[in-house]
Symmetry: C2
Subunit: 223 residues, 2 copies
């Protein structure tokens, strides 16, 4: 069994939520989203090592929340950079052993144990794993003032945890020529490796819009 | 004001839902999804004329549901064909006046009045309208055994009601060279017209997977 790390990236602001509170701190049934995310990984493996990336100016607020909620998970804290690339890199720099790293959005509290297991298994076998789901909707591609239908069977919606061998993703981040990557898989891909898609779970939404908080609540607390 | 028609297409089976009941008949708080969909359009315009497309072998079941739920909306009933193309065409054939037609999935009960209004306004001004939302997720394109990241800012998830001038969409259906179109906009597009994208609403999900029923319930009945 390889050593496992969960790198929880929580750098977001509240802009799209019409909220002054950052998305990761919004509460569902009185508890911040970010705490549910920790719990999802701890359920999968109680020995997993956490690294949390937060904007430096939110660390105090988070620590006060932890005290209020008697949140006792152990984790190392890294500060966010000026973009997601730097934030992830700051987190990776706190991991100095070999192992498997799950890089996960702090605002995805609904990742299932099966999704995490799929990512782990495929990373062990093939070197990396990216959980995806097929879209329920048709997809249009827009260019200039026009747009056209595309074959949706060829497109997948990307979730996290994006999962890697720690030494490989670290090396890919160190050799990357710029910081404008959409996600971690794209960084590794740039270094020349193929990315392996695995099945995610539909509940594993990224809390981005106000509606998403209602959805997450419904999944976390089914009526 | 142009005359308005709502063509509600409800041809689906229950396959993806792990259910023997077709998706459109699944109940939320004791009422079939399809009835919420009618209500969404009736709220927008109480004078709108409905045409419902159902598989012929579900008509009796639906009528029994209507009686049970005291469902009194007036509508014309068309029977589904062997594919979506034929189903829509059967519905269009029941509309013999000029006007604007909203072609809508029966399993999208959460379309907002604003989305319908956006579709109407743009159809009046520009000839057609397709409601879309930007994806929250990164998107991957798969080809053969490989896959690659694409620029998600150029991709949109397509909702309904896809909205048209009745004579134009009828003509497009009649002149279409085959029946393998993903959606109605693609049929019109094939006839040479540009498709106009308008803003949809994120709640307007297509009930496709078991999880979607939980989401729809949460949006219809916020806690």
């Amino acid at each position: 069994m390889a050593k496992k790390f969960a790198l929880i990236v929580a750098g977001g602001s509240g802009n799209r939520m019409n909220s002054s509170v950052s998305k990761q701190f919004l509460e569902i049934e009185g508890k911040p989203v970010l705490m549910y995310t920790f719990e999802a990984f701890a359920r999968y493996d109680s020995e997993i090592e956490f690294v949390l990336v937060l904007p430096e100016d939110q660390a105090g607020f988070w620590e006060a929340l932890c005290e209020k909620h008697h949140f006792t998970y152990k984790y190392k804290l890294a500060f966010g950079g000026k973009n997601r690339f730097q934030s992830v890199q700051n987190g990776l720099n706190l991991m100095d052993e070999e192992g498997i790293v799950f890089i996960h959005d702090g605002v995805r509290p609904l990742v299932s144990m099966q999704t995490i297991q799929n990512c782990y298994d495929t990373t062990i076998m093939q070197g990396n794993a990216l959980p995806v789901v097929p879209p329920s909707e048709s997809i249009r591609y827009s260019f200039g003032n026009e747009n056209k239908a595309v074959d949706r069977a060829r497109f997948f919606l990307v979730q996290t945890p994006q999962t890697f061998k720690l030494n490989e993703i670290k090396a890919a981040y160190q050799s990357a020529p710029h910081q404008n990557f959409t996600d971690d898989a794209s960084v590794l891909e740039y270094s020349g490796q193929n990315i392996h898609l695995v099945e995610g779970n539909r509940e594993n939404i990224k809390i981005t819009w106000p509606q998403d908080l209602i959805v997450a609540q419904a999944f976390l607390f089914p009526q």
